[in-house]
Structure formats: structure tokens, C-alpha cells
């Protein structure tokens, strides 16, 4: 009798402990996965960022600001900001127009245009830069004509502008296209049947609904314009104080063993990226909310 009771109790305890270990397993698996993710995150994302800041401030705060306030650094920052001002609005305008056309209308050649818009994503930026050199460089296709008219494109601002335009062309269009496609055309058709003109339909129906996706696309486009290295490097010519953008300046300073200055410049880029991310986060939250 007593034996039986003990066995029963024992088997109950077994079951409990088994359940406990299962529960513990369930608790440990997510914790383990989370741990791995955090370590990976720290190594790949946080450590480099911290390194950049640590190196930048290695010789103290005053030194940090003095390197950034040097004329070359200031020029590079100006140029980077100028490029984002000259490129982002154009590609935003293009992206809205292209995405509206491709997302709301069906016409022959539509697939081809979508593929072409993706081209800058699939072509290496260096190749893109080289294309502009081959077109507008001294030995290039339009080179002699440009020289005879005293127009400089390569190794000058227009070259940087063109290659930045090329590289960031898909960002806004690509961000908007899936949204517009998923919306269908019922609303636009409704608006037109209610008497709205084509422009009114775009302005009051289509545009307000793409607002947050548009902001998202603009932010991504801007981040890329400011950060682009490959294509700009090929066409810029690295003329100090004239055609160096921030990413190019970082490389030059680094190659000249001015590590602290290089990291100071890099920290500005990183800071711009962080600001961009915060704005993007707000945009995304609105987009889903």
C-alpha cells in the first residue's frame, strides 16, 4: 500500500520535473537565440560605430572639432550636403512620377521600364562611374565636344551630381511601387467619376496616401547620396577642397595616416546616418499606424 503511494508520488514528481525541464528548455531557447543575436549585433554593428567615435575623439574634443572645422573638411561637408540637395528632390520627383505611372497603369513596355529602374541596383557603382567617364571624360564620347565648349563634367561637380543621380535613381520609385500596386485603381476611378480632374486625383487622392512611403524613400535615397563612395570616387578626381565629398575625404585622410581626422570625418557621416535612421523610424511608425 505504502509502496504504491510512494511510486505514485514518485511518478508524479517525475512528470513534474520533466515538465519543468521542458519549460526550462522553452525558456532557454529564446534566451540563447537572443544572446547570439545580441553578440552578433554588438560585434558587427555597435563595435565599429564605437570604434569610429573612440578614434575620432582619441586626441580630445578640441582636436576633434578643429579637424572638422578645417577648410577641407568643411568643403567636403558642404559638397556632400549640396549633392543631397541637388539629387534627392530630382529622384523623389522622378520616383513619384514613375511609381504612379507603373503602379496605376498597364501599358506595353511596363515590365521593361521596371527592369531599367532596377539597373542602378544591379550595376556596381564603380562601373556606373566609369560609364560617365567613358561618356564625358577627355577621351570619352562627348569629350572633344565638351572640351571645345569648355564644359567640365568629369573631375567636376556635374560628374559627381550625375553619378549620384544614377546610383540613387531607384530608391524612391522602388519604395512606392509595391504600395501603389497593392492599392489598385478603384480610388482613382472613384475620384474621376466624382468629377475630379487627373491632377486633382493625383493631388488629393494618390499623393496623400503615398506620403509616408515617400518620406521613407527620400530618407533612404538621401542616406545613399551622402554615403556613396564608388561611383563618386571614379568621377571626382579627388581635387582637395573642390571635388571631395565626405566619404572621399575619409579615405584620403586615412591614406595619409591622419587617423584621428579620418575618423572625425567618418563620425560626421555616421551621425548623419543615425539622424536619418531616427527620422526613418518615425516615418515607418506613421506608415503602419
Amino acid at each position: 500500500m505504502q509502496d504504491k503511494a510512494v511510486t505514485a508520488k514518485y511518478s508524479l514528481a517525475m512528470k513534474d520535473s520533466q515538465r519543468m525541464s521542458l519549460a526550462r528548455l522553452h525558456k532557454w531557447v529564446p534566451a540563447l537565440l537572443l544572446g547570439i543575436a545580441l553578440i552578433y549585433f554588438a560585434l558587427v554593428l555597435v563595435l565599429p560605430l564605437v570604434t569610429v567615435l573612440a578614434e575620432a575623439f582619441a586626441k580630445g574634443v578640441p582636436y576633434y572639432f578643429s579637424t572638422l572645422l578645417e577648410s577641407e573638411a568643411l568643403k567636403a561637408m558642404q559638397l556632400t550636403l549640396l549633392m543631397s540637395l541637388l539629387v534627392v528632390p530630382l529622384n523623389a520627383g522622378f520616383g513619384v512620377a514613375a511609381a504612379w505611372l507603373l503602379g496605376k497603369f498597364r501599358f506595353p513596355g511596363r515590365g521593361l521600364i521596371i527592369t531599367l529602374i532596377d539597373l542602378p541596383f544591379s550595376v556596381s557603382p564603380v562601373v556606373a562611374g566609369l560609364v560617365f567617364v567613358l561618356l564625358f571624360g577627355a577621351q570619352g564620347f562627348f569629350g572633344p565636344w565638351l572640351q571645345s565648349h569648355d564644359i567640365k563634367i568629369i573631375f567636376a561637380l556635374p560628374g559627381i551630381w550625375l553619378s549620384s543621380l544614377f546610383v540613387t535613381l531607384p530608391f524612391v520609385a522602388r519604395e512606392l511601387l509595391p504600395l501603389l500596386e497593392s492599392q489598385g485603381t478603384d480610388q482613382e476611378e472613384s475620384a474621376i467619376m466624382l468629377g475630379a480632374s487627373g491632377w486633382q486625383t493625383f493631388r488629393f487622392i494618390s499623393l496623400p496616401q503615398m506620403k509616408w512611403a515617400l518620406i521613407h524613400g527620400v530618407i533612404l535615397c538621401n542616406a545613399r547620396v551622402m554615403g556613396e563612395f564608388g561611383a563618386v570616387s571614379v568621377v571626382s578626381g579627388h581635387i582637395r577642397g573642390q571635388t571631395n565629398t565626405l566619404p572621399l575625404l575619409v579615405e584620403i585622410l586615412y591614406n595619409e595616416y591622419q587617423f584621428t581626422a579620418a575618423f572625425a570625418a567618418a563620425s560626421v557621416l555616421a551621425l548623419l546616418a543615425l539622424v536619418t535612421l531616427v527620422i526613418k523610424r518615425i516615418a515607418v511608425r506613421h506608415n503602419h499606424g
Partner: protein, 346 residues
């Protein structure tokens, strides 16, 4: 407004969708475009709205060729199956949209817009919902907003593309009644697309039955139900049994000829020998009548049968699932074979 369709044809990528549709719709009439999917009913509605152009033929509004007008000039009210409300605008702004988009000469003062929108929202019983946004409304409420928005521009005709298709049965029936009342109250010409025969029978002055891009039959609901002009028309409206003709005409034995019997034209009585018998398989109460699925086991015909008999008759029979019952045909139709796809007018 009177609408005339004159021999409308339309093909998409060489697939004919409409193959010559002509009819006249009177001022204030409620016409349902009924047919299976792919019959061209939605395309016809979109041609009326100006969203598609016919390949041939014309649409006349009160005798004027509407093909000469822009979509905006046509002034049609259109209600989509999935409402197509503007999600970033409030209920009020949705309904006011058409009034605010008018050209400068025709635009009305905001106070008049307010009066009109308030009236319309009361008409569709959404007076308290002006400040809500579409995502805060139920499906039925959304569709009411869509109707109010379409009516705001005082349309010449109200077109509805399966407007109740996305709603549950109760809301659907409620809105059907409301829409019909509203339409009669306003005296507006109304065309509604549906594939739901109940909806067509319940709402329409006339049903336009479409099949493969042609008008199969057009007429009042009871006319089409009682006098279907084709096998298709009889099949599409109401349950029909297809039976071999030799059941009633022994001389037809060995031929392929068929007769068509409505479910309520089958009479059931307690099983007796020397008669056609069937086994009761399922029993569905349908309010005033019972819908029965039977399996005929006779020598002349064996196979599934659908019968509908009054509830009191069913109760007096005292039968249940699995029991045998005798049946006979009270009334039937037969159709002379006609060349396929030839249009017929009633």
C-alpha cells in the same frame, strides 16, 4: 435618365467579352445585370461609366452619345464592391469630395456642401459618423458611405458593381432593402451587377440575364422565373431538375431529350409501388418550405433530385432521412434546341 445601349461589343486581348448588347433602360428603372462570372456584366457597367470604351456600339444618355463625353462629364455615381473609400479622408470629406472637385463655375459654397453632405449621411443613416474614418466603420457602414458619396454629385445614373458581395448575409439583406427604397424615393435610374439570383429577384424592376457576352433574356423577375427562354435562364434562376423526357412521354425512350422541372414542381407522396420512388438524403428547412435532396431509384430514372415542398405538407407526410417517397412531376418545361449563343429577347 433614359439609357440606351446600341450593339455594344468589347474584347480584351482578342477574347470577346461583350458580343453585341442592345437594350433600353427607362428613367427611374432598377435593372440588375445578372450572370455567371465572365459573362461581361462588369465590363458592361464599366462601359456605361466611361471607364472602358466599347470596341463598337454606343451608349446613349437621353439620346445623346455619351461616348463624346469625358468620364467627369457623364456624372455617373459608381459604387465598387470593395467600397473604394478614400482612407485618408473622414466620412464627411469622402461624401463632400465630388462637390469640392467641381470646376470653379459650378463649385458651391462650403455651407451648401455641408447641408448636402449632412442630408446624404442622414439618408443613409450615418448622421453620427461624419468625423469617423473609413477604417473605423463596418463593411455595411462603408458601403453606405460609398452610396452617399456617389449620390452627392446628383448622378444621372447610379451604377453598382456587386455592392453587397463583401458583406455578410444579414447586412446584405438589410442594405438591399434600403437601397431599393432609396432608389425609389429618389427616382434615380439604377444598374446593379450581381451574380446572386436572390439579389436580382429581390431588387429589380427588370433583370438583364447575361451569358457569354450576350443578353440571354431581359424582363421582370417573375417573368424570367416563370417563362425562362432558355435552359441557361431556367438553370440560373432557381433550382431545376434535368430529367429524361421519356418519364412523361414514353415515345421519347431512347432519345437524349430532356425536360426541366423546378424543385417546387415535384410532388411527393407516401411511397406506393408502381410509382417512381426516391430516397430522402438531406432535409434543409428553408422557412415556409423544406428543401429536400432525393436519390431517385426508379426504373425510368435514377439519380439525384431536388424537391421543395411546403412545410405543412412535409409535416403531414411524416417522413425522415433515409425513408422512401414517391414522386411525380406537376409541371415542366422543355426547350427546343436552338443554335448556341443566339440571343433571345422576351
Amino acid at each position: 435618365m433614359k439609357i440606351s445601349l446600341r450593339n455594344i461589343t468589347k474584347a480584351f486581348a482578342k477574347t470577346p467579352v461583350l458580343r453585341g448588347v442592345s437594350c433600353d433602360i427607362d428613367q427611374g428603372e432598377f435593372v440588375t445585370l445578372l450572370g455567371p462570372s465572365g459573362c461581361g456584366k462588369t465590363t458592361l457597367l464599366r462601359i456605361l461609366a466611361g471607364l472602358e470604351n466599347p470596341d463598337q456600339g454606343s451608349v446613349l444618355f437621353d439620346g445623346f452619345d455619351a461616348g463624346q463625353w469625358t468620364i467627369q462629364e457623364r456624372r455617373v455615381g459608381f459604387v465598387f464592391q470593395h467600397y473604394a473609400l478614400f482612407p485618408h479622408l473622414s466620412v464627411y470629406d469622402n461624401v463632400a469630395f465630388g462637390l469640392r472637385m467641381r470646376s470653379r463655375q459650378q463649385r458651391v459654397a462650403e455651407s451648401l456642401v455641408k447641408k448636402r453632405v449632412t442630408e446624404l449621411l442622414q439618408l443613409v443613416q450615418l448622421g453620427e459618423f461624419t468625423d469617423r474614418f473609413p477604417q473605423q466603420l463596418s463593411g455595411g457602414q462603408k458601403q453606405r458611405v460609398a452610396v452617399a458619396r456617389a449620390l452627392a454629385i446628383e448622378p444621372r445614373v447610379l451604377l453598382l458593381d456587386e455592392p453587397f458581395g463583401a458583406l455578410d448575409v444579414h447586412v446584405r439583406q438589410e442594405l438591399r432593402g434600403e437601397l431599393r427604397k432609396l432608389q425609389q424615393q429618389l427616382g434615380i435610374t439604377c444598374l446593379l451587377v450581381t451574380h446572386d439570383q436572390d439579389e436580382a429577384l429581390a431588387m429589380s424592376d427588370r433583370i438583364m440575364l447575361l451569358n457569354q457576352g450576350l443578353i440571354e433574356q431581359i424582363g421582370s423577375p417573375d417573368h424570367i422565373y416563370d417563362n425562362p427562354s432558355s435552359i441557361f435562364a431556367m438553370n440560373y434562376l432557381g433550382a431545376v431538375n434535368r430529367l429524361p423526357a421519356h418519364l412523361l412521354k414514353p415515345e421519347k425512350l431512347g432519345t437524349e431529350e430532356q425536360i426541366f422541372v423546378r424543385a417546387h414542381d415535384l410532388e411527393l407522396f407516401p411511397a406506393v409501388s408502381e410509382s417512381q420512388q426516391a430516397q430522402i438524403q438531406t432535409i434543409v428547412p428553408r422557412g415556409g418550405f423544406m428543401q429536400l435532396d432525393l436519390l431517385a431509384l426508379g426504373t425510368l430514372f435514377s439519380g439525384p433530385l431536388r424537391a421543395e415542398i411546403p412545410r405543412d405538407r412535409w409535416e403531414s407526410l411524416g417522413l425522415d432521412r433515409g425513408h422512401l417517397v414517391s414522386w411525380k412531376i406537376k409541371a415542366y418545361k422543355d426547350f427546343q434546341p436552338r443554335t448556341q449563343n443566339e440571343p433571345s429577347f422576351a
